[in-house]
């Protein structure tokens, strides 16, 4: 008999709740990438994002007994991570630095022009996200990078679903204005 992935996850959670560190490690490996990405898009800083992610997984381990089986572990982790990331942002408000030059962002198969364009795009997206107010940035990040539904975002952030919609609308409208101001055409090749 084989277990479905959700049954397997439930079993891992139950084991981890009883203090099984290996089972928790499995869960960490499974959710690390999405959690660190959400934290990064919120903070815009890789050190802060990694610290917040580590803090979130530590906190999750400590509070695992209070996690209710049958609810989404991913969303629960997102909630802890979002709070850790926002705390980190408030603790040390870093200025938005220019992109470091030594980052392996690009596919070496692409030409130098493409690389320049890519670098510009990466920088632009990060700056645009950081220009949003934290409240609407959190909603947008959970939607675009966390891939949560409106209802899930409402639960994670503990806000009404109407607020999710209005914050998402205003975040996207603001990004659109910003990108237009930078003369970045949204009809480029990212569709």
């Amino acid at each position: 008999m084989t277990l479905s992935s959700s049954e397997l996850e439930a079993a891992l959670i139950a084991q981890a709740q009883r203090g099984d560190r290996q089972a928790y490690g499995e869960l960490v490996r499974q959710y690390y990438a999405s959690v660190v990405n959400v934290a990064y898009r919120l903070c815009g800083d890789s050190d802060q994002a990694q610290d917040a992610t580590q803090e979130a997984f530590l906190k999750a381990w400590l509070n695992l007994p209070s996690f209710r089986p049958g609810t989404s572990l991913r969303n629960w982790l997102y909630r802890i991570a979002v709070n850790a990331a926002l705390d980190a942002l408030r603790r040390e408000r870093k200025t938005i630095e220019a992109a470091p030059d030594d980052l392996p962002l690009t596919d070496p198969a692409n030409g130098p022009e493409c690389e320049l364009l890519q670098r510009e795009r990466v920088h632009l997206v990060r700056g645009a996200l950081l220009s949003l107010p934290e409240a609407s940035r959190a909603v947008l990040v959970l939607r675009e990078y966390g891939e949560l539904s409106y209802q899930e975002i409402a639960t994670v952030l503990e806000i009404p679903i109407g607020t999710v919609m209005s914050r998402l609308n205003s975040a996207r409208a603001q990004l659109k204005r910003l990108l237009e101001a930078q003369r970045w055409s949204l009809e480029m090749e990212y569709v």
Binding site: Y32, S46, Q54, W61, L62, P65, L140, R172, L179, L186
Partner: protein, 203 residues
């Protein structure tokens, strides 16, 4: 042409519309080029956000999990054994203390009202309900020995002292029981609060 569906484009783009709302937006989109462009822009924006890599490289999940494992406190994550009887007892003690306190206070109020009514002579025609003078033993003894020599001021002072003693005796019992009840109640609350703060987390 019907009104633009600008406000609903985000929800449509995110796959959050159902039924009538979905139909309304879809039929409007077939007819309105302006809203189609706006929708395309939303799609392009999402694609731009999602497909743009982070400006940093993160350690692999394997690496992160290994590093995290070193920092996990050994015993955390264990469900603390819940003692149902202790919890139930705590609740019963708290509620019981509250109930007894209410009962005592109501009794005192009723008794005061009753005594007031007696004093005012409202219940005078009820046989057997006349207030009995309460005299402390030492006052009785004093009166017995020196009663004749005390005179009116002396008797007044004595009766005042008698009342004070009576009050102290009565209120002592009351005060003591109220203190005890308060401790019981606060103790129950403190236990509950401790459990709450231990089991909940402020993420």
């Amino acid at each position: 042409m019907s009104e633009h569906v600008t406000d609903w484009l985000n929800a449509y783009h995110d796959g959050e519309l159902r039924g009538m709302g979905l139909q309304r937006v879809e039929s409007h989109l077939t007819a309105c080029a302006e809203c189609r462009v706006a929708l395309e822009e939303l799609r392009a924006l999402s694609a731009l956000l999602r497909q743009t890599p982070p400006e940093a490289v993160f350690p692999s999940a394997e690496h992160f999990a290994a590093r995290l494992a070193l920092r996990l406190p050994r015993h955390a994550g264990l469900v603390p054994a819940r003692n149902v009887w202790l919890e139930l007892g705590g609740w019963l003690a708290t509620l019981g203390a509250l109930a007894v306190w209410l009962f005592l206070n109501i009794t005192v109020w009723v008794r005061s009202a009753f005594l007031l009514a007696l004093d005012a002579g409202l219940l005078a025609n009820l046989p057997g309900l006349q207030p009995l003078p309460l005299q402390m033993n030492w006052v009785a003894a004093l009166t017995f020995v020196w009663g004749d020599q005390l005179g009116l001021p002396g008797q007044l002072v004595l009766s005042l002292l008698n009342d004070v003693h009576l009050f102290v005796i009565r209120s002592q019992g009351m005060l003591f029981s109220e203190l005890l009840l308060m401790l019981l109640y606060l103790g129950g609350l403190a236990l509950w609060w401790l459990r709450q703060s231990k089991s909940s987390f402020s993420a």
